[in-house]
């Protein structure tokens, strides 16, 4: 017999201990970059290097999305010539990279963060303002199967 349980149910059943928000880093202007400073709340859960690696990769992916180069200019000029109607039918380069980012975050959660009781939220769901990391309580007394 199949039962459906919402992810929210299960999340709430594993109590959320805390949430950490990695803020944006504006030293290079308005490009989307996040601070690589390691938050103290995560010290007991994950390696500093691992965390920094994740954030750095995310930053590189966002830099790739916002890169000013031949491809973005071509896209921009083509869009201008077609009176921007091309945006209605074509996926922009930025949107393609956002999909890559979503996949990367899923992968990181699968391999690294979930086993440690952490959960990364895709920044696009927070308006590209923060990387939200949910810390779940360490219920090592759970009886499992």
């Amino acid at each position: 017999m199949a039962e459906t349980h919402s992810l929210q149910d299960i999340r709430q059943q594993a109590a959320i201990a805390a949430k950490v928000f990695i803020q944006r880093d504006y030293t290079n202007g308005t490009v989307c970059q996040f601070q690589t400073k390691f938050p103290s709340e995560l010290e007991t859960r994950i390696d500093k290097q691992q965390f920094e690696e994740t954030v750095r990769t995310l930053n590189n992916l966002y830099a790739e999305a916002e890169k000013l180069g031949g491809q973005s200019y071509l896209e921009g000029c083509l869009a201008c010539l077609t009176a921007y109607t091309i945006f209605l039918c074509m996926e922009t380069h930025y949107e393609k990279v956002l999909k890559k980012i979503a996949k990367y975050i899923q992968e990181q959660n699968d391999k690294i963060y979930a086993p440690r009781g952490l959960l990364l939220t895709d920044p696009i769901e927070r308006g590209l303002r923060v990387v939200e990391i949910t810390i779940f309580e360490d219920r090592s007394t759970g009886s499992g199967r």
Partner: protein, 433 residues
């Protein structure tokens, strides 16, 4: 040992309402269709076509703008083009047509595109920011500082805290009081297009005003040429006006509209060309953020590339950023929460194990049964129904994945009893057993 297997299923496939409604004491007879985020959007915007089109609540004089363009262009095509095609060239209506189409499409794009609205902070994020502000504040009776300084390309920039959106505004972001949103790279709120002009629609706005200045100048030139050519027959201007098929008022109407438009629109295009070339916004230019009027010495625009061509390319042909407000995304469905806890958690009262979370689950299920509405709407960008408290952490789940839980046991125990330390993580672990 249970044989558990988790599969990810498409939440949209489950949008049909539950056929057996749960026997809740405070069952609310609500429509069970999943809501889209635009329906609970906190700003003062209006939406069309199920969230595909967005515009400001006050459409300003957009109908007037459209009306003027349509009427003037219509009169031009009807009354001036036939004469000019006959006496001058047949490419006149073609050029006029192309310009007209470009103007209207740019205008519609400017008016109906999300200008770069920043979604408001969720309750957790807002609380975190408040904590940081309070911890950095002094112990005196002064209120804690609501500005943050960052260094951008060796230039100190102050970021202000937005009390409505509960965020520190990123650089170049401003809060539009008409739309009640923070808009990235806020230029201005344009009543003529009935929308804010910001990061995502500035290029549409610029192409609108440039093409409109070409169009008005073109129509002005054509109408003038038409009247001059008619008057050259030795008849004089007044007679020419009376004789022309447009009759007396129409060519004058076109002339007057175009004359005033040409000066104002050309002036505006020139101003915005200057802004584009220096990578400035109208807001920054008026406030004098980088010209030293605001008091800081030696301030220069840290966002400029110090090259006119690069600035133009970046502003007009840069990558198109996505909309951050996810208008057409779904809110978590309201019927999933009351159904799941009562079917799976209530029976666990009899089959209690010594895991603490069942107690909290039960409490949660009962408390949430009447407040499920709050749980989901709270998460939608910080918009909270004042009459419904949020008992728990209510930010929306990172991704809505409904898990199909299959069990080989005939005596079905609720999943609650079997979930190990990090139940969430089952959905991320490959189904290996």
């Amino acid at each position: 040992m249970k044989n558990c297997e988790y599969h990810q299923i498409n939440p949209q496939a489950l949008s049909a309402p539950n056929p057996t409604p749960p026997p809740l004491p405070c069952t609310e007879k609500k429509i069970t269709r999943p809501k889209r985020k635009w329906e609970v959007f906190p700003g003062k915007n209006r939406f069309c076509c199920d969230g595909r089109i967005i515009f400001a609540r006050q459409s300003g004089v957009l109908p007037l703008t459209l009306g003027l363009i349509l009427v003037t262009s219509g009169l031009f095509f009807i009354f001036d083009c036939p004469f000019l095609v006959e006496h001058l060239s047949s490419c006149i209506p073609v050029i006029g047509g192309v310009l007209f189409v470009f103007v209207v499409i740019s205008l519609l794009h400017t008016s109906f595109t999300d200008p770069g609205i920043l979604p408001r902070a969720g309750p957790d994020e807002a609380a975190d920011i408040e904590r940081q502000i309070d911890s950095s504040g002094s112990s005196s009776y002064r209120p804690p500082p609501r500005t943050k300084e960052v260094v951008i390309h060796q230039q100190v920039v102050k970021l202000k805290y937005c009390f409505t959106c509960k965020i520190f505004r990123p650089p170049r972001t401003s809060h539009c009081s008409l739309c009640d949103n923070c808009v990235e790279r806020f230029d201005h709120h344009c009543p003529w297009v009935g929308n804010c002009v910001g990061k995502r629609n500035y290029r549409f706005f610029y192409s609108f005003i440039v093409s409109l200045s070409f169009l008005t100048a073109f129509i002005f030139g054509c109408v003038t040429t038409h009247l001059v050519m008619r008057a050259q027959g030795g008849k004089g201007l007044i007679l020419a006006l009376q004789e022309s098929p447009a009759r007396y008022p129409f060519p004058l109407l076109e002339l007057v509209v175009c004359f005033f438009s040409v000066w104002s629109i050309l002036g505006l295009s020139g101003f915005h060309t200057y802004l584009v070339a220096s990578n400035l916004t109208t807001n920054e230019d008026i406030k004098g953020s980088w010209s030293g009027k605001s008091g800081s010495e030696g301030s220069r625009n840290p966002h400029s590339y110090n090259n006119i061509f690069t600035n133009c390319c970046v502003v007009l042909c840069g990558p198109m950023p996505p909309s951050l407000i996810d208008r057409r995304g779904f809110l978590p469905p309201e019927d999933a929460l009351p159904a799941a806890p009562t079917e799976t958690v209530l029976p666990s009262l009899e089959a209690k194990s010594d895991i603490n979370m069942e107690d909290s689950c039960q409490d949660f299920a009962v408390s949430c049964a009447g407040e499920h509405q709050a749980v989901f709407t709270c998460g939608s960008g910080g918009h909270i129904h004042p009459h419904e408290p949020c008992p728990i952490d209510s930010s929306p789940p990172p991704s809505l994945m409904l898990l199909t839980y299959t069990s080989s046991h005939s005596n079905i125990r609720p999943a609650v009893l079997r979930i190990p330390a990090f139940p969430l993580l089952w959905c991320y672990r490959p189904a290996s057993h």
